[in-house]
């Protein structure tokens, strides 16, 4: 045999500390034919996840009010009773990840000492954002900083003073202070903490899959604790809850995100007057004072459209679908960012970037401390909500990041997943939030942002209100709608990929029909919930339930930290 036999293999894999287990990946799988389709699914994870989803949708449709009351109070209970647990855990994840960067274990390479990266920096980086955070940046970029700066409902970070009271802009010093605090708190929610959460999950999965040879599913990270039992009921439960949370997280976000797309479309192409209740997009009523007249059908059509594009992307696979779309969207997002930076108040934005970072450094300890807080509105309404949200999304985003991170060293991985995205988020928030705050300071009650965030709280319009006061508003608003849609497509696509891998027992070569199934299922769940009697309330209640699963996954993440440490120690020792 000649040396050319290995052509096409990334490189020889070098040394890695494989875990010896008799478990064969796919041994619990059910491989059969269903009509013309071949299927290859994990038994029972696939069935239980699917049935549980249908069950919960049924509950939300049959008892809309009961479900909403139950799930919302469950979420609020989790947020208010376990705030300390979320905050302390998230702090631990940040410290743990930062320490790993400077530790000797940082040199361990994911995939073995000789592995080479599967993706270029640009492609890798684009996919990090596309899976889990792009949509959030579009939704909260204007909303969150302005909210802290000026809303009168008393949930300001650390109980700070407002920059605008009753429509009157405060003194220059007060504005500067409120502005810096608003940026600092926003950066706190979008900086190190969420990315550390994602990084922990991704690192645990990548390490146990690429270096230890275990299947690419959440349960593998529990091997150091559960041993061979991880292949049984315990592991099934962990994987099932992960698949379930991912599917519902995606479906509810898809439904809620559709409202932002509808608002954007009406903003750009709509006709009629909101005052007369005739505001519409192509005849579908939307954006009127009486929101009950909003057309659910429009939302369902938007979901169908997004799902259809996601299906094409699913069929084209990881390299031909998600990767290409992520790179395109990264280009669009950069374009929008640079445009807003240049035509917006550039100096203010630069100021917000640096002052925001300084404020972040100043406030990070009080913001992340759960003890003796008086700003409980902010603590429970924002911080704990975010932490539970990021954590409930982490199986999905983390697993997707793991999937594309083979061949990087732990240090390189953490710098690229933790530090660089945090900085990008800071710049994004400074640009969008800073521009919006400047508009509020200059125009006061006249500014569109004031109207949509402070006077009439309509969060889905805040981004468009900010863009509306800049030149070329219809072009940039259209671009923003495209960005939101494509971020949803990439989330839906990468989510289907992740759910399929989990429900196929870690197999990545299962028949594509399974991914098609999950992709359509997500869209269908969102559509059915919207068409139900409860409308978006059905979505809200199920999203509340997903966020509650954040409590469970916080425990999972804590275990993962322990597993990572154990895994890295044995990896070093084997060298």
């Amino acid at each position: 045999m000649s040396d050319t036999d290995n052509q096409g293999i990334p490189e020889p894999e070098g040394r890695a500390d494989i875990i010896e287990t008799d478990y064969e990946i796919g041994q619990d799988n059910l491989e059969t034919k269903l009509g013309p389709f071949r299927i290859d699914i994990h038994n029972p994870v696939f069935a239980i996840s699917g049935i549980a989803v249908i069950l919960f949708v049924a509950i939300a449709l049959i008892w809309p009010e009961g479900a909403r009351d139950t799930f919302l109070s469950m979420r609020d209970f989790v947020k208010s009773q376990f705030d300390w647990f979320f905050l302390m855990s998230a702090n631990l994840f940040v410290i743990f990840a930062l320490l790993l960067i400077v530790s000797p274990w940082g040199s361990v390479r994911l995939g073995g000492t000789e592995a080479t990266p599967d993706y270029s920096y640009i492609a890798w980086f684009s996919m990090l954002f596309a899976a889990g955070m792009g949509i959030g940046l579009m939704f909260f970029g204007v909303l969150e900083p302005v909210y802290y700066f000026g809303t009168p409902w008393g949930d300001q970070p650390l109980g700070g003073e407002l920059g605008i009271v009753d429509g009157v802009v405060a003194s220059e010093a007060a504005v500067a202070e409120a502005r810096q605090r608003a940026m600092a708190a926003t950066i706190f929610h979008w900086g190190l903490h969420p990315w550390a959460i994602y990084a922990i999950v991704a690192l645990a999965l990548a390490l146990f899959s690429y270096n230890k040879g275990l299947p690419l599913t959440i349960r593998s990270a529990f091997y150091p604790i559960l041993g061979e039992r991880v292949w049984g009921a315990w592991g099934n439960a962990i994987d099932t809850i992960a698949a379930f949370a991912t599917l519902f997280g995606l479906a509810t976000s898809l439904g809620i995100g559709a409202t932002q797309v509808a608002s954007g479309l009406t903003e750009v192409f709509g006709s009629g007057e909101a005052a007369d209740g005739t505001r519409n997009f192509l005849g579908f009523l939307w954006g009127n004072a009486d929101s009950s007249s909003d057309s659910s059908l429009l939302l369902v059509l938007i979901i169908a459209f997004i799902t259809a594009i996601a299906l094409v992307s699913v069929l084209r696979g990881l390299d031909g679908g998600v990767k290409v779309l992520s790179e395109i969207n990264m280009g669009f997002a950069a374009l929008l960012l640079v445009f807003v930076f240049l035509v917006g108040p550039s100096l203010d934005i630069i100021g917000d970037f640096f002052k925001g970072l300084m404020g972040y450094a100043r406030d990070i300890v009080p913001l992340s401390n759960p003890v003796g807080r008086e700003d409980t509105g902010f603590l429970h309404g924002w911080t704990t909500f975010y932490w539970a949200w990021w954590i409930s999304w982490s199986p999905f985003v983390g697993m997707f990041i793991a999937r594309v991170s083979r061949g990087r060293t732990v240090r390189e991985f953490l710098i690229a997943v933790l530090l660089v995205p945090s900085l990008v988020c800071v710049f994004w928030m400074a640009t969008f939030g800073g521009t919006a705050i400047s508009q509020v300071v200059e125009g006061a009650t006249e500014s569109g942002v004031f109207q949509t965030v402070i006077a009439n709280y309509s969060p889905e319009l805040s981004l468009f209100a900010m863009l509306g006061e800049l030149p070329l508003a219809s072009i940039t608003s259209m671009l923003a709608v495209v960005l939101v849609v494509v971020f949803f497509v990439t989330s839906s696509d990468s989510g289907s990929l992740v759910i399929d891998t989990i429900t196929a027992g870690g197999k990545v070569d299962a028949p594509v029909i399974q991914r098609v199934f999950w992709c359509i299922f997500e869209g269908a769940v969102a559509a059915v919930l919207l068409l139900g009697a409860a409308g978006t309330a059905g979505l809200d209640s199920l999203q509340a339930m997903v966020i509650s699963t954040g409590l469970f996954f916080t425990v999972v993440l804590l275990v993962m930290c322990f597993s990572i440490l154990k895994g890295l120690i044995s990896e070093k020792r084997s060298h």
Partner: protein
């Protein structure tokens, strides 16, 4: 005639490859051609192997067994797909050029209604490869 045959193999389902393997071996023996068995592996651990290297070794062993059983010259070529669910066709098409095969012998199922909208691997390869392609049924 043909000098270099390529046979795509799914090591996880070797039982379903029967006819194609025998056909390729017979043709190779007849023409004195070399056979390269091409396998598509994954970067993640799978049923067959924990990593790409282990996969390549299994494929080599498979090729060696074929060489001995049929008294032909055989080689193995392991490739990696980031996303084998959708990329197998493209990876195989690329492999044809890479190893310079002039005939591909591959197994495929009987075409059904679904193949009109969703071609089988064999259908796609036959439709796009520059080399000759022999699709073996059943």
């Amino acid at each position: 005639m043909f000098k270099h045959l390529m046979v795509p193999v799914d090591l996880a389902h070797t039982e379903s490859l029967g006819h194609a393997l025998d056909t390729a071996a017979d043709l190779a023996a007849h023409w004195g051609a070399k056979v390269t068995y091409v396998g598509v592996g994954t970067t993640t651990p799978g049923k067959l192997a924990h990593n790409p290297k282990e996969f390549a070794e299994k494929l080599k062993a498979f090729a060696k067994a074929q060489a001995v059983a049929h008294a032909i010259e055989a080689d193995a070529h392991a490739t990696i797909a980031h996303d084998p669910t959708t990329d197998v066709d493209d990876v195989l098409l690329h492999a044809i050029d890479e190893i310079g095969a002039d005939l591909v012998v591959m197994q495929s199922h009987l075409p059904g209604l679904l193949d009109y909208v969703w071609p089988s691997n064999g259908g796609k390869i036959a439709g796009h490869a520059k080399a000759s392609v022999l699709v073996v049924r059943g």
